[in-house]
């Protein structure tokens, strides 16, 4: 674990206000999901999950086919598809288009994919104004911070923080009522929407048989971004493609329920090309940027490629006992929580933050709530193995390796294993059946102490399982 990761975790744990904010917000989102996927609310929930998983699996296994089909259909509707390998190529494309069309102001709706490539910073560096329009993202752009949560980006900000940020950057009188703060943002951003030359959105789904971009949101900013300016550019990871429009009936039922506990988000936009003959409004130009940015690196491994099924609902964050304590900014990249812990090492390399796949209790809650059934705990284990393999021989902890080899040997020798169990109870006696939270004196030697300092042990039972079994 890097020093930075460790420090961020500790500073989050020590901040009582932040702990309360994370715990209540994720708790509310979590409960919303539970209520709306319950058997009485959605009887075919498990069937829908299986269908969503099968669809994603099929689409990813035939990704080239569906990307080309998507591309042909976008072109047939008068739009254009641009493939980009990284953030530099995306920026170059937008800059050259902006220059040709004499565009200066860009409005943006929420997109985790553009966070990956720091798009706003890159565009601003080249003299374009790029404004986030989702309320949470707008607050964070003003504060120069990255999203704390995939779905609720400003989860860690209180209304007083927002008041400070607005006063400082927008020079408005201090206002601490969320309703009025929202009205301030609405009026500032309304001007931007009506003046913008280009609207940049992400994409929740790309529909291959329609050439359509699907956007799901609650505020209306994505609708404005994609219909007020003359040019709409959607930026999407290549894994977002699904085969058919009809498959949306499956995905849409799962997405909002898993994310916020809504039956459907307020606005679901299904956008296929620029405006057509006779339409009064809508964009004149329609572009879809298909971004790789490391995604193709995930494809060769048949197990780990399922990380690309993710529909970014955030349910795994809300249910994760680790995320709910260490928060979003402790994570080393834009994606946080369990999904971040499996995506980040695969996109950035396992050495980017070797501690990340280990920052999990492997309780399995993330896999259970995942609407597309990504086996996150299994991938975490595979990544732990990758981290160990990537460490040079000198860096590998020989003692740890030896200990686990010894443990494996012991496990295959039942008699000795049983004896060792009795011995352990003597070495670490429990106190009145309570958990051992301190290092027992007999185990207080350097390497064991370090290992035990982060782990609590259950009290040793009076009789082992094997003894109980024999007594039956």
């Amino acid at each position: 674990m890097s020093v930075e990761f460790d420090q961020k975790i500790h500073s989050t744990l020590e901040d009582a206000n932040l702990q309360l904010a994370i715990f209540t917000s994720t708790g509310r989102l979590k409960q919303g999901r539970i209520d709306n996927v319950a058997a009485e609310a959605l009887p075919d929930y498990q069937e829908l999950r299986s269908q969503a998983n099968a669809l994603k699996k099929h689409a990813i296994e035939n990704l080239d086919y569906y990307l080309e089909q998507f591309e042909r259909n976008v072109q047939a509707r008068g739009g254009k598809v641009v493939y980009c390998k990284d953030g530099t190529e995306v920026t170059d494309f937008i800059l050259s288009l902006a220059k040709e069309r004499r565009a200066h102001l860009i409005v943006k709706s929420k997109s985790m994919t553009t966070e990956e490539i720091d798009l706003n910073e890159r565009l601003e560096h080249h003299g374009l104004e790029s404004v986030e329009t989702d309320l949470g993202e707008y607050i964070l752009q003003l504060a120069h911070e990255r999203p704390y949560h995939i779905v609720a980006p400003a989860l860690h900000k209180t209304r007083y923080d927002v008041a400070d940020i607005f006063t400082r950057t927008l020079h408005v009188p201090s206002e601490t009522v969320p309703e009025k703060q929202t009205a301030i943002a609405r009026s500032v951003l309304r001007e931007k929407f009506l003046a913008a030359d280009i609207g940049i959105s992400g994409a929740n789904f790309l529909v291959a048989d329609s050439g359509a971009v699907v956007l799901v949101e609650n505020e209306g900013n994505a609708r404005l971004t994609t219909s007020a300016p003359r040019i709409h550019i959607a930026i999407a990871g290549i894994e977002k493609v699904i085969p058919r429009a009809q498959d949306l009936a499956t995905f849409l039922k799962l997405l909002a329920r898993s994310a916020t506990g809504q039956l459907l988000s307020v606005y679901t936009s299904f956008l296929a090309g620029p405006r057509r003959e006779g339409e009064i409004d809508g964009p004149e130009e329609f572009y879809v940027v298909l971004l790789d940015n490391g995604r193709t690196k995930l494809l060769p491994d048949k197990s780990k490629r399922q990380s690309l099924y993710c529909i970014r609902c955030g349910a795994c964050l809300n249910t994760c006992p680790v995320y709910r304590r260490i928060g979003g900014h402790s994570f080393p990249w834009v994606y946080s929580g369990p999904i971040g812990a499996i995506i980040t090492p695969q996109f950035m390399g396992v050495s980017h933050e070797p501690g990340l796949p280990f920052a999990s209790s492997l309780c399995g809650a993330c896999g259970e709530v995942c609407p597309v059934k990504i086996d996150i705990p299994k991938i975490l284990l595979e990544l732990r193995s990758d981290v160990k393999k990537s460490e040079t021989r000198e860096k590998q902890n020989r003692l740890e390796k030896l200990a686990f080899q010894g443990f494996a040997w012991l496990m295959t020798h039942p008699r000795l294993f049983e004896m060792a169990g009795r011995l352990a109870a003597l070495v670490a006696p429990g106190e009145d059946g309570r958990w051992l939270r301190t290092v027992p004196p007999l185990m207080n030697v350097a390497p064991l102490r370090a290992w035990l300092s982060q782990r609590d042990l259950p009290p040793p039972p009076s009789r082992s399982f094997r003894e109980e079994w024999r007594r039956r």
Partner: protein
């Protein structure tokens, strides 16, 4: 060029070759339940009202016009060019602008009036959702820029839900460049998870079902 590079990388990783066909995708899963019209209408009303929207059920176009007239009394409004609104006489109401075909004029109006009045192509019963396909009759801004949105829809356009919608419209892109599903008023909970309505889209929504 990145296009060919990326597609090549994808194919190599998946062990596929250019132009290779695919096995059939998993069968489409659409289950259209049976729902009597009155039950569907009742469901729309429950769902929309649960999201703090308003609903009305009227039996004739003239009644629909009266409901709208009462709702916009003393306020300004703009209508879409949906023929059903003219049929109801809503386009003739005082304070209502209609028949706009110019982009700039429509934008300016929508940004200043109190209410946008539209029809809808369908309504989904189980979620209380308006389905709107953009066309020369239905511009996007009317249901988006004004602070209040009123949708006046013939009651027989109420479908059971998403599965029925995608059965009727297997590929919405063939019909329109834009289909939007609207479920309740615009909302956010980005500040301390406190619900605020009317962020960028309309904060008030009224559904009038006719017939």
């Amino acid at each position: 060029m990145s296009r060919d590079n990326i597609l090549h990388r994808v194919r190599t990783a998946l062990g596929r070759s250019a132009g290779q066909d695919v096995a059939d995708p998993p069968p489409v899963r659409l289950r259209v339940p049976h729902g009597e019209l009155e039950a569907r209408i009742a469901s729309v009303r429950t769902r929309v009202e649960a999201l703090a929207g308003k609903t009305h059920r009227v039996s004739s176009p003239a009644e629909a016009c009266a409901v709208v007239a009462a709702a916009i009394q003393g306020k300004t409004a703009v209508t879409s060019n949906a023929p059903f609104l003219a049929e109801c006489g809503i386009t003739e109401l005082p304070g209502v602008r209609s028949g706009i075909t110019d982009r700039e004029e429509l934008r300016e109006l929508c940004a200043t009036v109190d209410t946008g009045i539209t029809s809808a192509d369908y309504v989904l019963a189980d979620t209380g959702t308006l389905v709107m396909l953009s066309s020369p009759r239905e511009a996007r801004m009317v249901s988006l820029l004004p602070p209040a949105h009123i949708a006046v829809v013939p009651a027989d356009r109420v479908l059971t839900g998403l599965d029925e919608l995608f059965t009727i419209l297997p590929n919405p892109a063939e019909q329109s460049s834009s289909m939007v599903l609207i479920t309740g008023p615009s909302r956010t909970a980005d500040i301390e998870q406190i619900l605020v309505r009317g962020v960028h889209g309309p904060g008030q929504i009224t559904v009038v079902l006719v017939g």
